[in-house]
């Protein structure tokens, strides 16, 4: 919403500088994009160079066919000679002149110059040259009663500022100059002038019949018939206001409807009355497939939810959004039906979304416009139509369903103070609410500060409850006056859960191991699980399925790093996967996944680390899955690991993925002390010859089972396959540590334990102790 400040000042006085106005509005009412100066720069006496002039002579430039050479009376003893490129005037015209020394809005500085051999002392102005409009086809023609040399700033709004505000959805009342003026008056406690508009006399013609078939969609319809309309260009002040408010001037009738919309926020529409079949209007929903060519020339195919304005039975406008082409006001129009109606917001929003058609009108309707503004708008538009277009108001009618009564709510000033956290005097609260248009019941000085408040109609959608009034008090009294306090805690909690702490430790451990953390998309192009959840309307082909594994994203991240030439690539991610579930919502599980240069054993080292972190001994079993090397893949209780299949990512990458809830499931709440210091451990090396197929893990498992907990550790330190062994055999060398917390182990103790192990391994796995 763009509002010229001079327009705002028509309705409200304020003393504060414009940046203070902007600051206050921004904090208390609506986002202020900026306040910008527009038009001719008002500095360094620049405005003095702009005056009115009367053309004394105008003839073709002797050396240029497309230029005129003019003698212009600018209020000085001698006329000024000015070369001009426009032809929409002749001798006798009153025009706007910029004299040498003037700086135009585009920065151009005028000088006395020679144009094709003739002196030109200034410029006869078109509206776009002084930012009064966008027209450039001809120069501005001013009223003939102006005497030459009159300062132009007295005649035209040469210099102004425009306030640009962004209004939140709950404040459609601020999408209007008058509404903003009301807000300014309330914020600065100054007087708001009454709304503009005085009804012209009404003729005695039969009113245009109005038939509302859907009063839910259109609770009010004011129709006013005008005759004798002379379609013409609007006066300069009107054109300039629209231009500066960001709208294009079209013709007087259309401009008036737009101007009044901007004044009150209630959009209007003008029909060419003679083109309405049966000179009647109605409001109904469209039939499916019904068509209407709107003003923009597009043929719209309608649905049963769309609200229409019709004449006899034909659609003539898409209610609240855009008029129809056939009943548009044109240069030939002389009779006009002015529509000042009210439309229900949600239906309008749906239609404008469906048709992807947003207009100044729909933007207001979809936020909800006060039906009471329609009457003000009708009155003001009528006054302007009569005074500007020479029209006569023939008849008027106002069809309305029972409009909702203004909301009323109890209000306790003490409650407002308590919620804001600042003691605000009850009478001050009342006064500021009254400035906003709220009405109070009960004696003026009700000592307890408890009232019943009636909401002004223009706030009826937004303010219905006591808490809504609390907001009004807080923002108008001043959010900057609210102090800084902290909640008074009576009970203290707030710590990470064990799971959250462990998740952090997982991240930290991997970072310590040289992995960097990746973030990859939760949505993938596809997933290994055919049941993975799909978006019916994907974000894109790459982002369509809620992943059940982190691996695809990690492979992409690793490939990206390889492709850009990074080295030492080790990445992990801790994020959720989404497993399809019978219970409606997916089972969201935290996973940690990693990818690293170097193959299976590098990945295994990370998986060992993660298990060590939670003091769990993992059991690795051979497995297979399509993305992994068939001979280098394993699973553990909480997940899997392996070397990435070269067809997925070439170059020998290790990858793993662990379900954190499973990993954390057996983490003891506390770890108990074990005495590993007092009595020294006995270390022995044992080498066994076994079948080549036997996993070392099985051998260790058997050793641990044979010796019991006194075998504190058994670690593979060498594997040998070769000539010195019979075919199909390998040697596995173990380093074992026996340790007791009850006493020092003797050589005899160690021998007994060692024999137990040797016997068990021989029995279970045919292992032979190597000499």
């Amino acid at each position: 919403m763009k509002v010229p400040i001079s327009w705002l000042r028509e309705y409200v006085d304020f003393e504060v500088p414009l940046d203070a106005l902007a600051d206050r509005l921004a904090v208390a009412a609506a986002e202020v994009e900026r306040i910008v100066p527009v038009g001719v720069a008002d500095e360094g006496g620049n405005l003095e160079h702009f005056v009115t002039g009367r053309v004394l002579e105008a003839s073709k430039h002797p050396n240029a066919d497309r230029l005129q050479l003019c003698q212009v009376d600018v209020g000085e003893p001698d006329p000024a000679q000015i070369v001009c490129g426009a032809w929409n005037f002749s001798a006798g015209a009153t025009v706007a002149v910029a004299r040498p020394g003037a700086t135009l809005p585009d920065g151009m500085q005028l000088k006395r110059v020679k144009l094709r051999g003739e002196i030109s002392e200034g410029m006869i102005l078109a509206e776009d040259e002084v930012a009064l409009g966008s027209e450039h086809d001809g120069i501005m023609l001013l009223a003939d009663d102006l005497s030459p040399g009159t300062p132009l700033v007295d005649v035209l709004p040469l210099a102004d500022h425009v306030l640009e505000v962004e209004v939140t959805g709950n404040r459609p009342d601020l999408l209007s100059t008058y509404g903003l003026a009301r807000e300014v008056a309330a914020l600065f406690d100054t007087e708001l002038r009454p709304p503009p508009g005085i009804d012209p006399p009404v003729g005695s013609s039969e009113p245009v019949p109005i038939e509302i078939a859907d009063s839910g969609g259109c609770p009010r319809y004011i129709g006013r018939a005008f005759s004798g309309v002379e379609i013409a260009e609007s006066p300069q002040w009107l054109r300039t206001r629209l231009h500066r408010a960001g709208m294009r001037a079209i013709s007087n009738v259309v401009d008036i409807t737009n101007y009044v919309m901007l004044t009150f926020g209630s959009p209007l529409h003008a029909f060419d009355l003679d083109r309405l079949a049966g000179r009647r209007v109605g409001v109904r929903r469209a039939e499916s497939g019904e068509r209407l060519r709107t003003l923009d020339g597009v043929e719209r195919v309608l649905s049963v939810d769309d609200l229409l304005i019709v004449d006899g039975d034909r659609a003539i406008a898409l209610a609240a959004i855009m008029g129809g082409e056939e009943t548009e006001v044109t240069e030939a129009t002389s009779n006009v039906l002015l529509e000042a109606a009210n439309f229900e917001p949600v239906g309008i929003l749906k239609t404008s979304e469906r048709l992807a058609l947003r207009t100044e009108g729909s933007n207001r309707w979809e936020k909800g416009v006060d039906p009471h503004q329609a009457a003000l708008a009708a009155t003001y538009a009528s006054e302007l139509l009569v005074s500007i277009s020479g029209a006569v108001l023939d008849s008027t009618s106002d069809v309305q369903a029972a409009l909702d009564p203004a909301p009323r709510t109890p209000f306790r000033a003490a409650r407002a103070s308590a919620l804001i956290g600042l003691e605000i005097d009850a009478q001050d609260q009342r006064a500021l609410l009254q400035r906003l248009g709220f009405e109070f019941e009960g004696p003026d000085g009700a000592p307890d500060g408890e009232w019943t408040v009636t909401v002004p109609t223009w706030r009826a959608r937004d303010v219905t409850r006591e808490i809504d009034l609390v907001e009004e008090v807080a923002r108008v009294h001043g959010l900057d006056r609210v102090p800084f306090t902290l909640p008074q805690r009576r009970e203290l909690f707030g710590r990470l859960t064990q799971e959250q702490r462990l998740r952090r430790r997982v991240e930290d451990a991997l970072v310590g191991a040289g992995y960097s953390e990746a973030y990859t998309w939760s949505l993938a192009s596809d997933d290994v699980d055919p049941a993975a959840l799909r978006l019916p309307v994907p974000l894109s082909a790459e982002h369509a399925v809620l992943r059940t594994t982190l691996s695809a994203g990690l492979v992409d991240a690793a490939a990206h790093n390889r492709d850009v030439g990074n080295h030492g690539i080790a990445l992990f991610e801790v994020a959720r996967v989404y497993l399809p579930s019978d219970e409606g919502l997916p089972d969201e599980r935290w996973h940690v996944g990693g990818i690293v240069e170097g193959g299976y054993f590098v990945a295994k080292s990370a998986v060992d680390l993660l298990h060590d972190l939670v003091r769990v001994e993992p059991r690795f079993e051979r497995t297979s899955q399509p993305t992994l090397h068939p001979g280098k893949a394993a699973r553990v209780a909480a997940g899997w690991l392996g070397e990435v299949h070269p067809s997925v990512l070439d170059g020998g990458w290790g990858m793993f993925e662990i379900d954190l809830a499973t990993l954390f499931a057996d983490v003891p709440e506390r770890t108990l002390y074990e005495d590993v210091i007092t009595y020294p451990a006995v270390h022995q090396d044992l080498a066994f010859v076994v079948d080549r197929q036997l996993p070392a893990g099985d051998l260790i498992e058997a050793a641990l089972a044979a010796a019991g907990p006194i075998l504190r550790e058994a670690r593979v330190f060498d594997v040998y396959e070769g000539d010195q062994l019979p075919g199909g055999k390998k040697s596995i060398a173990l380093n074992v540590s026996f340790q007791s917390d009850a006493g020092t182990l003797s050589d005899e103790d160690a021998r007994v334990l060692r024999e137990k192990i040797v016997a068990r391994l021989a029995e279970q796995h045919g292992a032979e102790l190597r000499a």
Binding site: V27, I467, R495, G514, I569, A570
Partner: protein, 331 residues
């Protein structure tokens, strides 16, 4: 025999020895089996002379040990000094990992709120429309509900568009007081560009207790902003509109780059927009059966990516998802 002269001679020889070998030669010469002093000691008969000789031998023996230690120290020093390295050469290479910038910011925020006694609640990412919209007082026609704005799995299931559904779950599960924050991924149907990625991260907080005020929200957010952007920061509230809060505000933090003087980051206003907040709309209490006359609350939401952009100067959010080690290693 002039013991004194002999000792003096020996002491001089000890002092003059400059290597272990020389010292050994000196030792053999004066204290060796066939040297003068040991021989004299073997032959001495009177007690007085014996003591004198003995003491002389002891002193020489100590002097030799001391000199040997000294020579060994010197030798070590000399060897070490020969081993000196170029101290500017790089340290032993060891793989280094880094937490993602957003995780670092996430933890920082979690820690700030843990310090304020808040719980961290990880909500679901896939939610019902009830928890994501309806219970947050968003009317059926609200634009955020449009499939053009949000990612639906079906009519009733949506990828959360903010982390606040966790607040409704928490309120349903227990009575006030509640002090909680939820952080994590949220989803919107945006076209990726420098400042938008369809997946981003928010922190949303909720405090419900007896006597919670707008002033408490102001004090809390100022604490958070100072923790994030420095102790000199100020905050201001601007009125705004959200369906789930009343009054609704947007907090601004005073620009940490220009200190309020105006710069490009704060668009020459001196203030930087930081998110949304307000007092919890009593409407939200209806469905969870809280008494708005007894308790009140505040809620707020901030974007983690916004903090990353503002505080770290990150120019393009898409880079957060590229996982390029060159970027990850910066933070």
């Amino acid at each position: 025999m002039d013991v004194q002269a002999l000792e003096e001679e020996a002491q001089n020889a000890i002092g003059a020895a400059v290597s272990a070998d020389q010292l050994e030669t000196v030792r053999v010469q004066y204290l060796g089996r066939n040297a003068v002093l040991p021989q004299a000691l073997r032959e001495v008969r009177d007690k007085e002379t014996g003591r004198t000789l003995n003491e002389a031998r002891r002193r020489l023996s100590e002097a030799i040990d001391a000199r040997r230690d000294e020579l060994e120290r010197d030798e070590l020093e000399r060897r070490l000094s020969e081993e000196s390295v170029d101290v500017t050469l790089p340290g032993t290479e060891k793989a280094r990992g880094h937490l993602h910038l957003i995780t670092q910011i996430r933890r920082e925020l979690e820690d700030i709120f843990l310090g304020l006694g808040y719980e961290v609640i990880d909500g679901r990412e896939v939610e019902t429309t009830y928890y994501n919209f309806t219970a947050l007082n968003m009317p059926t026609w609200h634009p955020a509900r449009s499939p053009l704005a949000s990612l639906y799995l079906d009519d009733e299931t949506v990828l959360r568009t903010e982390t606040s559904p966790a607040q409704i779950h928490t309120m349903e599960q227990r009575d006030p007081p509640i002090y909680m924050v939820s952080l994590g991924r949220v989803y919107r149907r945006d076209t990726p560009d420098a400042t938008h990625v369809p997946i981003f991260h928010q922190v949303e907080g909720l405090a419900i207790d007896e006597g919670i005020t707008l002033a408490d929200l102001k004090g809390t957010l100022r604490h958070v902003m100072r923790a994030l952007f420095g102790e000199d920061r100020e905050i201001r509230f601007r009125t705004h509109y959200f369906p789930f809060t009343e009054p609704s505000i947007e907090p601004d933090v005073s620009c940490f780059l220009c200190d309020g003087a105006g710069c490009n980051v704060c668009r020459h206003s001196g203030w930087i927009e930081m998110g949304g907040a307000g007092l919890v709309d009593p409407k939200l209490f209806e469905s969870v059966d809280y008494d708005p006359e007894r308790v009140s609350g505040f809620a707020f939401g901030l974007g983690l990516e916004r903090i990353a952009m503002l505080r770290h100067g990150l120019p393009d959010l898409r880079q957060l998802w590229e996982n390029d080690l060159r970027l990850l290693h910066q933070f």
